[in-house]
Assembly symmetry: C2
Homo-oligomer: 242 residues x 2
């Protein structure tokens, strides 16, 4: 073992290290700690988390499938930087997917689920001021929370995936805090949903996503260069974090 146990990482009986590293790396990318284009050599990432290349390799493969990392044969993996064309494609798919979510949820929500949604919105409002990674994540989580209520495994996975990709896209092309302004829109959507007004809900969601897409379109990012290990330092340790 390269590094028996460092700081706070202690996952009862390890089963798969991969999952932990996956979560951490994924968050690091989505929360924009790792800018698009950042190189991710297998060894370096492995050292950062204290695992071998084998593990990192599988994680990178997974993230590649999800479009957060791009990998070409014999080349170092890097944080993906989707083109504008790809970005448009992702948003188009997302609209279709979330339409499906709405359709299967309209008028079907239990009171508990309604409560969960309201609580989430409250949290979003709370984090409204701060522009930290928190706010970015919460905004995306609204959509995955909604999706998770469909109990449709595949739909959930797909929505998660497009939501992740969108975070990355907004990081690349979006204005600094473009995500914040959508809290009311979220609110309006669940209102329609709870009324059972499917048509309106579908339309609101569609408009919301269009708005999010068009809100992000400028800003090329200066993207300060920092050391990879330093950037990842915050993400080891909490391997099972939220």
């Amino acid at each position: 073992m390269t590094d028996p146990n460092s700081s706070t990482e202690r996952k009862s009986r390890a089963g798969n290290l991969a999952d932990g590293v996956y979560q951490a790396l994924r968050r690091a990318i989505i929360e924009q700690a790792l800018a698009p284009g950042t190189k991710l050599p297998e060894d370096s990432v492995g050292e950062s988390f204290g695992v071998s290349r084998t593990v990192v390799r599988s994680v990178l493969a997974r993230l590649t499938v999800e479009g957060l990392v791009s990998q070409r044969p014999n080349k170092r993996a890097e944080v993906a930087s989707p083109s504008l064309a790809e970005a448009r494609g992702v948003f188009q798919v997302r609209r279709g997917l979330e339409r499906t979510v709405i359709e299967s949820l309209a008028g079907q929500l239990t009171p508990e689920q309604a409560g969960e949604l309201r609580a989430h919105i409250a949290a979003e409002e709370q984090a409204h001021g701060r522009d930290g990674p928190e706010s970015i994540r919460l905004s995306g989580d609204f959509h995955t929370l909604l999706a998770s209520m469909t109990a449709n495994e595949l739909l959930i996975r797909y929505v998660q995936e497009v939501a992740s990709r969108c975070s990355l896209i907004l990081a690349l092309y979006g204005r600094p805090h473009s995500s914040e302004c959508s809290v009311n829109e979220h609110q309006a959507i669940i209102d329609a949903l709870l009324r059972g007004d499917e048509a309106t809900a579908v339309q609101l969601m569609d408009e919301h996503l269009m708005a999010v897409a068009t809100r992000g379109l400028l800003d090329l990012k200066p993207a300060r260069e920092r050391d990879l290990k330093e950037l990842l330092a915050d993400y080891r340790g909490r391997l099972t974090a939220s």
Copy 2:
């Protein structure tokens, strides 16, 4: 190397063995050479293709993501056997996805693309009689062909994925040759598409998918037991096949 070169496998300069094995295994599953529930131990599969567990591992991971294989920690991987609930979920997602495909294609097809589609339909009619794996595959390929014309990478991937899953599902729950009867439906869809009649095309596609879904609902499959390596024998060799 365990097995330097066996029979016809010669991929110029190998780059990634994984891709070849992936294609082969995927086809084996989709064409129902490997029945749902078939165990896929890493070593055995590796021996079948003359590659190491490392490679097989990555392939299985990939197929797991795509829902063709299911893997639980410390358990042997096996060909997935989705539940009816999951099956329904897949079809629901598929409908949403293909709706998006139609929407972005209506009235946008070039003459060449139209020709390609017609050619495909012709091939489907040709294979109509034989119930071989050929027919199963062609039927699914219609949808992926259509998707590929959107030039939306993500949409293409998702459609491919759901189409694969659906093949598996029909293998599990469908009647023997349920896929054949849909050639006319395919025809009607591209007709509407070429006319630029988006609304009709969307509706036809939706009905088509509903029909495919409901056509498959009975038959639990006897599933003859055969030796894994024997089953896979046909699939090695042609690592870059169509």
